[in-house]
Amino acid sequence: MAAKESGIVIGGWRLLWRRQSLLWWVYAVNLILAVFATLPVVLRLSRVLNSSLAADRLYHGFDLPTFIELASHPDVALAAHVPGAALFAIVFFVFMLFLTGGILASYRQEQKPSRGEFFRACGAFFWRFVRLLIFMAIIVGLILLVGNRIRHWSDTLAAESPYEKLGFWVELSGGLLLLFILMCVRLWFDMAQVRAVAEDERKMRRTFLTAFKLTFSNFGTLFWLYLRISLVAWIGLLVGFWVWLRFVRPEWVWVSFLLQQAVILLWLGTRLWQRASETLWYRRRYPVPVPAIPPAAPPASPA
């Protein structure tokens, strides 16, 4: 069983590698949109920083009071740029929602689809996935509501308890539980999307319910598959942060940039790796039916 699972994860990795152009496109769009969101910030920062010696306090280190003064400087007003960054994030979210159908269709097929086939699949599944998203939003909303109540309860427990660490452990346990539940829900909807593409399903409510049965009847296998790849992303983030703190000098802007981009690429890559592995799992469990070969017609007898 384990060998079979690891085969899926490795197979997913191979699939990701074979369709790596998808990852590069996604990354490129992510980067370009973020650059657009960052440009106004750069322009404002450069007005204040480029000709001031005080900039040294941010270049040769990161002096927090100086940064906060800069952020609140009327010519910079960093907080005013947060909505721009959020807007970019929403655009990227919509872009990914649009792209998911094409990505899953691409992973579903043995052969790399043509550009036309890819975008046809994107368009064909976009609205179906929007409907699925609405279902998911309702469920995630309910979970967050419960999570909020748990947090409130744990806050009270922590405040009233004579043991200071109790609150921390309660909060941590609650957070991990919430994360686990959210991962389960994500996995469920991942499988719904995989199934919708595989079966060209139009009725999303049926997909939603079928995917529930599918996910939770194979929960161990699917969750372990999902979790391992998630751990790669989290470990990569922590290692990147550690390397940045430990080895990257404050003045090495380009090195910081490359490290940051490597982390972004890793996170995007691991997400697509999860998608590829889930599709592969589904493909192995429900192989694409081989079209029946019609019996050979008897040779026409000469008239």
Partner: protein, 721 residues
């Protein structure tokens, strides 16, 4: 005589105590209490459980002790031990006069000792109440007869219609009233010795805002005045209900912090009574005097208090009574908690040994060195810079988590605060410990009116905090040094006041600032920056000398801001009114800027001029410096040229702008106001300098960070897709 007995203190390192402790440990004397039931020996052995000699023999002769049967094999050993006990007791008797001296007494007194409080209070830990009696002896040193006496009743601040709660709500609209916040103090009886019961004469007044629902100040008019030079004695019985901690007062689970908890008489100051209501943005003001306080609490509680513990008695009802004595202080606060772990240490300064007592939460024991080292370092620097610490002890309280009682100062007792996860790079425990200890000098000893001149203690203390933290840690990292982020103390002070640079002057009643944020920003941060800038003006050593003079001259008194400012001028030998009028009494905005920097070739008009050559081409360079704010201050300007030449200019800063022009075979590459970074009042750091060559490093760094965060946010959101 009885009182003297109660003040007898036996340090735990005394030979008899050590000997007895050794005997107990070695021969299980806990199981052999019969040896204790004999005269003085009892006194010694009973106190082995507590290193303090008990003041009475009330514990003698418990039935269970008398009926105890001594095992045969231990009887011989007990006989030997009895002799050892007698020897120890003999040693004690011989050295008794020396030991009595162990209680710190100031003779002559360090202060005028206007008041003497004797309080006996009993804490009901279940009901969170206090029942107490107070005898206040007031010496009329005002030079005139007094017939009216105002008193603080500060626990009444914790009621929804009080001025304190109204102000809290106004400053923090998110504040929600909880019934557990309700606190109160009720005077059950008020008697004036020689006059009689005047409980009926109690009249609540609201001198600051006229709020009829505020009951934090009352006054009593005596039927006959107290003549100047004579004393009057008040006997007050009161009952207090403690709130869930608010303003560092009250309870949280089994933690109690008792501050501003007893009826306290106002201060006759500047020819009138000074007795303000309890405000949200203010601290306190009280008379110097002596305190003898007997606290009765459940036995398992660990206590800490202002002053010195002089006696402790275990009562038959499961409580204990601990007596404290403090002199030449102006307040008395105490704390009790079931969980405190006591860490003791000492430090020796120019006035002798200071005993350090840390009351730590069990989960914070690994942070003891952080508290202790900072405290010792601060003691050392303050002793060297400003003057001797006169008291022989200091108690540091680490409050229970969630208690919201950290970061406050009381005479010889301060509350600090930390969390179990506090990283080394976040120097909050160090900062709070340093700051609160600093208040022992600026508030505790030099006792200005915190209602009316809050900056005198908070500001001077914040300045002293900068100096101490800079001396103890890396000045650029003395607040935060974590994950590549840094913050130094002086830059943090500067950052703190920028938002309120021109709203309020330093000299304003603390409860009359535009809001709570302004009170903090101006009284603490701006005042510290006023002194840092003053240091740049008159020199670090001169200002240190001025603070030393101010401390030595006004210790154990209630100075005003003019006392301080005149002392600075006197020591500096300069008329600094022009500065004080703006920085202390004014709200002028300090903002100098490099307006423009330009270098033009002298031959700019020639059509066929040769290509520019470094060191050969002549330029006319103009640097314009502008005063954008209304604060006038002399400026140093440093101008650098591309041939390495550096020119320093001085400008009196009076006009709106000034122009500096040069003709040199070099271009200006940068101009900077205050190149030595001596001015901390300037509200804008970024326009103080200008470089002709663009430096994109910092912009690039922040841009990549912003880019990454935006990408990461987008990628997280896309997880939902």
């Amino acid at each position: 005589m009885e009182a003297k007995k109660e003040k007898l203190r036996v340090p735990s390192i005394w030979p008899p105590t050590l000997l007895a402790a050794f005997i107990r440990e070695s021969y299980c004397l806990e199981e052999c209490p019969a040896v204790c039931s004999r005269g003085f020996g009892e006194l010694i052995f009973r106190n082995l459980r507590n290193p303090t000699i008990h003041s009475s023999v009330a514990t003698r002769g418990k039935g269970s002790i008398l009926n105890y049967t001594i095992p045969r094999e231990k009887k011989q050993m007990c006989g030997i031990l009895r002799w050892l006990v007698y020897l120890a007791a003999l040693w004690l008797v011989v050295t008794l006069p020396t030991q009595l001296d162990a209680v710190q007494r100031f003779d002559p007194p360090l202060s005028q000792r206007v008041v003497a409080y004797e309080i006996a209070a009993r804490l009901d830990a279940q009901k969170r109440t206090i029942d107490a009696t107070e005898i206040l002896t007031y010496r009329n040193l005002t030079g005139r007869p007094l017939d009216t006496f105002p008193f603080h009743l500060y626990l009444n601040a914790f009621q929804p219609k009080s001025t304190f709660i109204q102000e809290t709500r106004a400053y923090s609209p998110g504040f929600r009233w909880k019934e557990e916040y309700r606190g109160s103090i009720q005077v059950k009886s008020f008697e004036v010795v020689g006059i009689g019961d005047l409980t009926d004469q109690i009249e609540f007044i609201s001198p600051d805002d006229g709020n009829p629902d505020d009951r934090t100040v009352f006054q009593v008019r005596l039927p006959k005045p107290v003549p100047p030079g004579s004393s009057v004695q008040f006997k007050i019985a009161f009952h207090a209900q403690l709130p869930l901690t608010l303003a560092r007062t009250g309870y949280r689970r089994n933690f109690f912090m008792l501050a501003q908890w007893f009826p306290k008489v106002g201060v006759w100051w500047r020819g009138a009574w000074n007795c303000h209501q309890f405000h949200r943005s203010s601290e306190f003001f009280a008379n110097f005097g002596t305190y003898d306080v007997r606290l009765t609490v459940p036995q398992h509680f660990v206590l800490g208090a202002s002053g010195e513990e002089v006696a402790s008695v275990n009562n038959p009802d499961g409580t204990k009574t601990v007596t404290y004595h403090a002199e030449d202080v102006h307040d008395f606060a105490w704390t009790a908690d079931l969980n405190y772990r006591v860490i003791e240490d000492s430090w020796t300064g120019s006035a002798g040994e200071v005993k350090i007592r840390l009351l730590m939460q069990p989960g914070h024991l690994d942070q003891v060195p952080r508290y202790r080292d900072t405290l010792k370092g601060t003691l050392e620097y303050f002793d060297r810079w400003y003057g001797p610490y006169p008291y022989n002890r200091i108690t540091v309280v680490d409050p229970a988590h969630g208690a919201r009682a950290g970061g406050m100062e009381y005479p010889t007792l301060i509350t600090a605060g930390t969390t179990w996860w506090m990283p080394r790079g976040l120097l909050m425990p160090e900062l709070v410990t340093e700051h609160e200890f600093g208040h022992q000098y600026w508030y505790g000893i030099v006792a200005n009116n915190e209602f009316e001149d809050a900056w005198l203690d908070e500001g001077i203390n914040s300045y002293a905090e900068v100096k101490a933290m800079d001396a103890l840690f890396d000045p650029e990292r003395s607040v935060i040094n974590l994950w590549g982020l840094t913050a130094g103390e002086r830059w943090s002070q500067r950052f703190g006041f920028r938002g309120y640079a021109d709203t309020d002057p330093l000299v304003r009643n603390s409860y009359e600032f535009i809001n709570g944020g302004a009170y903090g920003a101006v009284s603490y941060n701006k005042a510290a920056c006023v002194l840092l800038t003053l240091e740049g003006l008159i020199g670090e050593e001169t200002l240190r000398q001025a603070l030393h003079t101010y401390f030595m001259r006004y210790r154990f008194t209630h100075p005003t801001e003019e006392d301080f400012l005149r002392t600075v001028e006197e020591v500096a030998g300069q008329d600094l009114r022009w500065y004080f009028n703006q920085a202390v009494y004014g709200t002028q905005r300090f903002d100098y800027a490099i307006y423009s920097v330009r270098s033009d070739r002298l031959d700019w008009f020639q059509k066929d001029r040769p290509a520019a050559k470094k060191g050969e081409t002549a330029y006319r360079s103009v640097v314009i410096v502008q005063r954008k704010g209304d604060f006038i201050f002399p400026c140093e300007i440093e101008i650098k040229f591309d041939n390495g030449e550096v020119v320093r200019e001085h400008w009196d800063g009076r006009d709106r702008w000034v122009k500096f022009a040069y003709e040199k075979k070099a271009k200006v590459i940068s101009a900077e106001i205050d190149p030595a970074h001596k001015v901390f009042l300037d509200v804008s750091l970024f326009n103080d300098s200008y470089t002709t060559e663009r430096h994109r490093g910092a912009t690039g760094k922040l841009a990549t960070l912003w880019l990454f965060l935006t990408q990461f946010l987008a990628q997280l959101l896309a997880w939902l897709a």
